[in-house]
């Protein structure tokens, strides 16, 4: 870096003419900011148009058609959406998605904040502990979810075995067998996986709070709680907010966890919009209807993000 800074520079005014001669006409054309930018940007934009833009438009188009496997699509206007409006499972999936996203995000934010506060002290092997705590977030979801399925197994799973061995219960609950318990389990596993993301991000935010803010608050007579409420939390709000938005989006679109853990059951009680869209398209072969469910996810997600904004504004 220092080499570059020390390099002898020609006068700024002389530069353009000098460059013109040096690169020739084509060179000078390419050197223009707008030309160079578009030359760089065209390949990725073409790639995204082909593999993201086209499927997106085709997906939106499909949601206005009745399209079944190996059959030609027939235009039905808003027919698919009307059908969904009268479909109790669809509304159940919408409700589940909102509960799942809302509850898991709140647990992850609170747990993550606690993790960050604990980790924001100096101790030996801190970076090792941080690496360990992040493991649930980096291990492929499907693999950890399969392990959770085994942990929650009603007869031989770890939780119920421990409950029985310790004498706390004669038989444990059916973690994935009843609608309420299954929903709780799904939220629990998602929280387990996503909590470190909050924890480590908030920890990074904590480390940017200047120490003198805390010092002056202490001089003003603030106790531990006072410092937390009036110094730490307000300074962390921007970080928490960004991480929360991220987490809401990721959680909202989650597919693999429910697909592996419950398959949407028992009796559709844990179907999310993503898994319902998948099961309509792939299970029932109704691709138009499935696309309509997927497209309906966008306004629901928008609603959740608006709700978050209103909640923050109120504070």
């Amino acid at each position: 870096m220092s080499k570059i800074l020390e390099a002898p520079g020609a006068g700024a005014l002389a530069a353009p003419a000098h460059r013109h001669v040096r690169f020739g006409r084509l060179g000078a054309f390419v050197e223009r900011q707008s030309v160079y930018s578009w030359l760089m940007i065209t390949p990725p934009v073409l790639f995204l148009l082909t593999f993201l833009g086209y499927p997106f438009i085709y997906g939106v188009y499909l949601s206005f058609f009745q399209k079944e496997v190996a059959r030609n699509a027939s235009f039905v206007g808003f027919g698919n959406f009307v059908k969904l409006y009268n479909d109790p499972i669809f509304w159940q999936a919408v409700r589940n998605t909102i509960i799942f996203t809302g509850a898991a995000t709140i647990f992850k934010a609170c747990g993550g904040l606690a993790m960050a506060l604990v980790m924001n002290q100096s101790f030996k092997l801190k970076s090792f502990a941080r690496a360990m705590l992040l493991l649930p977030f980096i291990v492929p979801t499907v693999l950890s979810t399969v392990a959770w399925q085994w942990i929650l197994d009603p007869g031989m799973g770890l939780f119920n075995r421990l409950l029985v061995v310790s004498g706390l219960a004669t038989t444990g609950p059916s973690w994935l067998g009843t609608p309420t318990m299954a929903m709780i389990s799904v939220i629990m596993v998602n929280t387990w996986r996503g909590l470190p993301f909050f924890g480590i991000s908030i920890l990074a935010g904590l480390q940017t709070i200047p120490a003198d803010l805390h010092e002056s608050a202490t001089i003003d007579g603030a106790g531990t709680w006072g410092r937390f409420w009036y110094v730490t939390l307000p300074s962390l709000m921007p970080v928490i907010l960004i991480v929360t938005v991220f987490s809401i989006v990721i959680t909202f679109f989650d597919f693999q966890l429910v697909y592996v853990l419950t398959g949407g059951g028992p009796a559709n009680s844990t179907h999310l919009m993503a898994t319902y869209a998948y099961s309509l398209s792939m299970g029932a072969g109704q691709m138009g209807l499935g696309s309509a469910v997927a497209l309906s996810m966008v306004p629901v997600l928008g609603l959740l993000l608006v709700a978050l904004t209103l909640f923050v504004r109120k504070d």
Binding site: Y54, Y58, A131, L134, L143, V146, V165, T208, I242
Partner: protein, 281 residues
């Protein structure tokens, strides 16, 4: 007295909660390991203590490697993750560089559009994507996922790299160009090398995300020999309603180790990438 108090404070404020977080984070992996090392007789014995292993055995690992294509899945997953990450880094950098460092017509709109692609549900894309892959005759090839994973990764990588590209002062580039370097030379010799940490962060992130991807792999890879670890484990180790927990846990553990190992080498960059957006934004 004061010493005693801080010692207690340290225990309650640090060590106990830290131990709690660590136990919660790690016990599923421990349970995977314990299960995979037990024989079926011990595994399904209701009287045995679940957390103890009396007769450790590698039988599930041997069965896993002998009866399934597990090692092929691991190799597929690695190959796909490396290539998808490479493509995404290249395309992401090409997208991010002008957006972060140059002014041009349409730039702002493009930056917003790239961010908005985050909000497109993958479940809306998969039917058209399957159609596209079918028409390109790429069904059941690793190319199918190598081409589709970057659609999930490029917007994210571009966004992450933009943050890094913006931190390099404009003067460095201007100085180089005054000295006669072309834009391309200034970019490849000066700006990009300074952003190496950003590339490492984006790369390790993209790599773990590729290892994690499930939906496209589930749809496009239905032949055992082209499957990735997540799809192979779910598709072939869960046979109907019968669960082979010993083998499943052996597979889940072995499948997690490569990602965990690579992550542990780059954990510094992973955390930097994770927090770059949160703290800077």
């Amino acid at each position: 007295m004061v010493g005693e108090l801080t010692w207690q404070k340290r225990l309650l404020g640090l060590w106990l909660p830290l131990a709690g977080f660590l136990v919660v984070a790690l016990f599923p992996f421990t349970w995977m390991a314990i299960t995979s090392l037990k024989t079926n007789a011990e595994l399904y014995d209701p009287k045995a203590m679940p957390l103890a292993i009396k007769h450790p055995s590698l039988v599930h690992y041997i069965d896993l490697l002998r009866e399934t294509n597990f090692l092929v899945w691991v190799a597929n997953t690695m190959l796909v993750a490396v290539i998808a990450t490479g493509i995404s880094l290249l395309l992401g950098a090409m997208l991010a560089y002008p957006l972060a460092r140059m002014r041009f017509r349409g730039g702002a709109l493009l930056a917003v559009t790239v961010a908005i692609t985050y909000l497109i549900p993958q479940t809306l894309l998969f039917v058209p994507m399957a159609d596209l892959i079918g028409r390109m005759r790429l069904g059941n090839t690793l190319t199918a996922v190598m081409l589709t994973y970057p659609t999930l990764l490029v917007p994210f990588i571009a966004w992450l790299l933009m943050g890094y590209f913006k931190t390099v002062p404009k003067e460095l580039e201007e100085q180089a160009m005054i000295d006669g370097a072309s834009r391309w030379r200034a970019m490849t010799r000066i700006i990009l090398p300074l952003c190496m940490p950003g590339f490492l962060s984006a790369g390790i992130f993209a790599f773990t995300l590729s290892q994690n991807e499930f939906l496209y792999a589930l749809l496009f890879l239905t032949k055992s020999s082209v499957r990735t670890v997540p799809v192979g484990v779910v598709g072939e180790l869960i046979r109907g309603d019968a669960f082979y927990w010993g083998q499943l846990m052996a597979g889940a553990l072995l499948g997690s180790i490569p990602v965990a190992l690579i992550y542990s080498f780059f954990v510094k960059y992973y955390v930097a990438g994770l927090t770059a957006g949160a703290v800077k934004g």
